[in-house]
Point group: C2
Chain length 180, copies 2
Amino acid sequence: MSKFEEKTILSQEIFNGKIIKVSVDDVLLPNGETSIRELVKHQGAVAIIAVTKDQRVVMVEQYRKPLEKNLVEVPAGKLEPGEAPEVTAVRELEEETGFTTNQLEYVTSFYTTPGFCDERIYLYYTDKLIPLIEEKALDEDEFLDCETYTMEELDQLVKDERIHDLKTMYALQYLKLRGF
Amino acid sequence: MSKFEEKTILSQEIFNGKIIKVSVDDVLLPNGETSIRELVKHQGAVAIIAVTKDQRVVMVEQYRKPLEKNLVEVPAGKLEPGEAPEVTAVRELEEETGFTTNQLEYVTSFYTTPGFCDERIYLYYTDKLIPLIEEKALDEDEFLDCETYTMEELDQLVKDERIHDLKTMYALQYLKLRGF
């Protein structure tokens, strides 16, 4: 048993969607009292830091409905059930950027919002990009632009809040620490 | 209008909780088709990078119900409605660590999971910590340990996946880039 463990007394499913599941759990606290926890379940995702031969970083721009605005982000996508993250990573790279790779380096993984959601993102790096001859289809409800940027341009995008999501901002720090 | 904008046709509230609200929206896609978006609304939060006089970083360890395990994280907490983030930051620092400060530096803000949730975290830095004479109460359903660590110890905690959340991993890279 973990210190501070909160034992589930009752779990009530609120929503079972395509992307998320939501439940409200009654939990037993370490002091013997009870409380409730609102929990979001997510399949997990991958993100890819993709660097071209001429030292530009591949980014995608898309509309993010929760924020009602466009963001520029590292290519990313949700895991399919049972799919190995490195398989997802190559598929998303191909669909979103028109590149593929046969050399993907695992960087790390992280939980995005551990307070209420179990989403875990697996982060990869590649600077061995191969242009695809034929374009791959995006998901039918997915619309995005793909562009490459220098680090100076990326820093400006952060200042302008066009890059404004944590995984992409982490990826840029990672590149700087790697000496990019 | 943003490129790729998705206009809301109908928004259906699924859940209105203490921490999150969930809705399912029918949207009009850029190509004239329709789709649905599962959206989580969150009040937003703050996180604080707190460094002691002897160059140790203040961290809190707590049980994260969505992951069913303990994580070591930078001190953090949710915004109260209408509260300025820097006010929340000092309050959470006091409650979770037993320190206060009169010198808080704004670092940046970021969206944690822009694909399905609008949570925005405001990140602060301080190395001007003042020990509180009297302990402040945590929320009644909150249990945590507060410890300080060297960067070497923090790197080991990341390897051991005891630090495993994105905001804390971002904070550690931030400290390294700052020359910590």
